[in-house]
Amino acid sequence: MLRKVLIANRGEIALRVICACKELGIRTVAVYSEADRNSLHVRFADEAICIGPPRSAESYLNVPAVISAAEIADVDAIHPGYGLLSENANFAEVCRASNIKFIGPPPEVTRLMGEKEKARMAMKKAKVPILPGSEGVIQSEGEAIEWARTVGFPVILKASAGGGGRGMRVIRSEAELPGLFQAAHTEAANAFGNGDLYMEKFIERPRHIEFQVLADEHGNVLSLGERECSIQRRHQKLIEESPSLQVTPKMREEIGKTLKRSLEHVGYQNAGTVEFLMDEDGKLYFIEMNTRIQVEHPVTEMVTGIDLVKAQLRIASGEKLSSILTEPLTVRGHAIECRINAEHPEKFTPSAGKITAFNIPGGNGVRVDTAQYAEGVVPPYYDSLIAKLIVHGKNREEAMNRMQRALDMFVVEGIHTTIPLHRRIFADAEFRSGDFDTKFMERFFERSQPG
């Protein structure tokens, strides 16, 4: 087992890793910026080293400072948490060169998965379904019709040269294709001086579904089931749950097999998350892979009973999955997570400052991951996530009711938080029905607009 680990992160995830280390008897070293001197990850680590001024670029993202701290504290390994240096292949390489274990996949795998198009191709080769699209420019209406027939309507035309919606057209039937093709071509040519178009399968109401995997250093990969993450605002997840009501046991088993095969093929190691879009027929299309622990990992922990961060640490110690997961995988009940951000609940402006009252809900089926406390301070330099409120119930209904009472009992004063927004979402009929997609928040804001 690892002897001593440096946690190259802050906030709740730093504390989360410290908890896992403590439970495994691993000594911990926190690093912190001057703004985080009074943080709980500093308080509860065995050692703590100040590595720079408040700005992340000069502290948490400062590779020499982190490595230097790791060297003077004489650690075996660095846990990068999520964000910050967690998917930085160069950092992983520096760790390797410094003889410090980076808790993540090898730098080559991080790099591969970091280049979205290469990752898509690698997964496609391994027979993971990806969103069908023309591989190059569509030269003519005729070619467009041929493509659309192959993948089925609706499809979307996009300008090769640019973005921002210009030159973009959703085509829902063969009849409207010629007209829209011309319109898109003209618009693209006018906007970008280049009328080239390509085409993709279009999903009207996509869901964001992701699969948690664990992979050891001995070539073994296991999928731990999915999370439903469609409740997003501007691609920022707000609420995640597990399992997804849309994923059947058969789908779960099939995708599990596919992921096992493909990730063994790329030599994956560590915990990881494979993200998919799901179309209206329940078909999944690979988008990207995150090669780190994910913010929303607790919902998987709640339903499977597996501690994912401890699994990461044991994998990094060289253990085999078979010794980490000794029981057959079972899913019990339903778990939901709300991300509590220090933001105005309607305007979403960040809200830093001193917390004057902080009452964390407890009781049956409630878990809170946070590094905040009464009289603590939310500094203005970092991510706005201050707490994750996770509930577990015997089914989705019980979990939702439990979340509502936990939100009622979560008192934060002195700063704004997204707690009131979550209360409104949990009272929303569409959310409660479970029948939603990634455009849920747009509809929610429309119907909940005052007046």
Binding site: E34, R37, N38, V42, R43, D46, E47, A48, I49, C50, I51, G52, P53, S59, P64, A65, I67, S68, A69, E71, I72, A73, D74, S98, Y373, A374, E375, G376
Partner: protein, 171 residues
């Protein structure tokens, strides 16, 4: 009084204050303590400022960098409390701090003379020491001219960002 005794006394005073003691006398052999807290009319005194975890956290600073006594490279008293630092500064001293995390060396290479020692007159920009980080020897320069009053870390000691290295009396 030695530092240990001063620490104990401070704790005692904190405790008396927390418990709202107004006056306190103690005699024990050659030890005599007598103290009386200043009057607090309004005395809301929830104070203590203390509030909550903050003082705990302050206290926990002590363990930082020093929490691994088994590791000889980590020396004690690495982080002076803000109060101490302030006191030195009040006394007109300038503190040269480490701009990076690393290992402190007093001389360019083992066995050679230290860059500076207490009593030396230094110029702004003069190299005072080396902090090694990731095998790179970083020369740390004075950001003031004056007299070196004290070196605040040991040769070979790990230092964190912002850690005081030298106290200098500016001229």
């Amino acid at each position: 009084m030695n530092p240990e005794e001063i620490k104990e006394l401070k704790e005692l005073i904190e405790f008396l204050k927390d418990n709202n003691i107004g006056e306190f006398d103690l005699e024990r052999g050659d030890l005599k303590v007598r103290l009386k807290f200043a009057q607090q009319q309004g005395a809301v005194d929830m104070p203590a400022l203390s509030a909550n975890l903050s003082h705990l956290l302050a206290a926990s600073q002590a363990h930082q960098m020093t929490a691994a006594p088994a590791h000889s490279h980590v020396a004690p008293a690495a982080t002076p409390s803000p109060a101490e630092t302030a006191a030195s500064e009040d006394a007109g001293l300038h503190i040269v701090k480490s701009p990076i995390v690393g290992t402190f060396y007093e001389s360019p290479s083992p066995g050679t003379a230290a860059f500076v020692k207490a009593g030396d007159q230094i110029e702004n920009g003069q190299v005072l020491c080396i902090v090694e980080a990731m095998k790179l020897m970083n020369e740390i320069e004075a950001d003031v001219a004056g007299e070196v009053v004290r070196r605040l870390v040991q040769n070979g000691q790990p230092v964190e960002y912002g850690q005081p290295l030298f106290a200098v009396r500016p001229r």
